[in-house]
């Protein structure tokens, strides 16, 4: 099981800034291990981010997103205390979802 998603969301002046870090190897399938064998591709393909059940960002990722994908974006509105939920699914069908509260900046 992958480590928890790290979520920081701060509301200020009618805008909420969101930083998300999803611990994941994001293996391309092009790298070789010490024995010279290819390491199987293994990467997050889909990400959904919701605030209070409303979709605020959907992403489709490829193997070319860096290890431990980092997303930073901004949404209009959002109040301190609102719940923000981030979920992902990867090429093995593994899933992870975590949530956090929007904080006052």
């Amino acid at each position: 099981m992958a480590d928890p998603i790290r979520i920081r969301a701060h509301a200020k002046d009618g805008t909420t800034e969101v930083h998300v870090l999803m611990p994941h190897p994001m293996e391309t399938g092009f790298r070789k291990d010490e024995a010279g064998d290819f390491i199987a591709a293994h990467y997050i393909t889909d990400v959904r981010i919701e605030v209070g059940g409303r979709l605020v960002l959907a992403a489709t990722l490829s193997r070319a997103v860096s290890e431990d994908p980092l997303l930073y974006f901004r949404l209009e509105g959002g109040n301190p205390g609102d719940t923000i939920t981030v979920s992902w699914v990867d090429t093995r069908g593994d899933r992870r979802a975590d949530e956090a509260q929007i904080l006052a900046a």
Binding site: R31, L57, A64, Y72, L75
Partner: protein
């Protein structure tokens, strides 16, 4: 004796049916997999050149000054290249990041719904020095902006 033969025939028939079933299952499985690969978005992610990515998206993007793309001019390590895109188009839109020299150039797609700023910042792998593109789809229109980035150590091998 007759009963035995009939049972044998029955067994053979069941065996044949099972094989047929397997064949049909295999065919439908392949068909389903093929259908999945052939949706535009999957083809875009599987495409091996910028041209083929744009074809799969059915896009002929117009260069636009309403988009800004920030990538480092030079980067030591291609495995971690920060990319930031800001669009000045209103309304829901899709933002695509494309790294031209990657084995599969389409890096990511971000769907920006109403109420989210058309802005995204992330980190990508860049195989070698090349142009990075941001392509934005708003309604049926596509717009793009590109910036070159120089990479000392490629981000694919490792």
């Amino acid at each position: 004796m007759t009963g035995h033969v009939m049972t044998q025939q029955g067994t053979q028939r069941r065996h044949a049916l099972r094989l047929l079933g397997l064949a049909l299952f295999g065919t439908s499985f392949c068909a389903a997999a093929w259908a999945e690969v052939t949706t535009g978005m999957d083809r875009a992610f599987a495409a091996a050149s910028l041209r083929k990515v744009l074809d799969a998206l059915n896009a002929t993007p117009l260069p636009s000054s309403e988009l800004s793309l920030v990538v480092p001019e030079r980067v030591e390590n291609g495995a971690v290249v920060p990319v930031e895109i800001t669009s000045r188009y209103a309304g829901p839109q899709d933002i695509f990041i494309i790294s031209e020299a990657n084995p599969f150039p389409l890096v990511a797609r971000f769907s920006i719904p109403e109420g989210t700023e058309p802005f995204i910042s992330t980190r990508i792998k860049v195989a070698k020095s090349c142009d990075i593109y941001a392509v934005v789809k708003t309604g049926d229109a596509f717009y793009s902006v590109s910036r070159p980035t120089q990479v000392s150590i490629g981000g694919c091998g490792g």
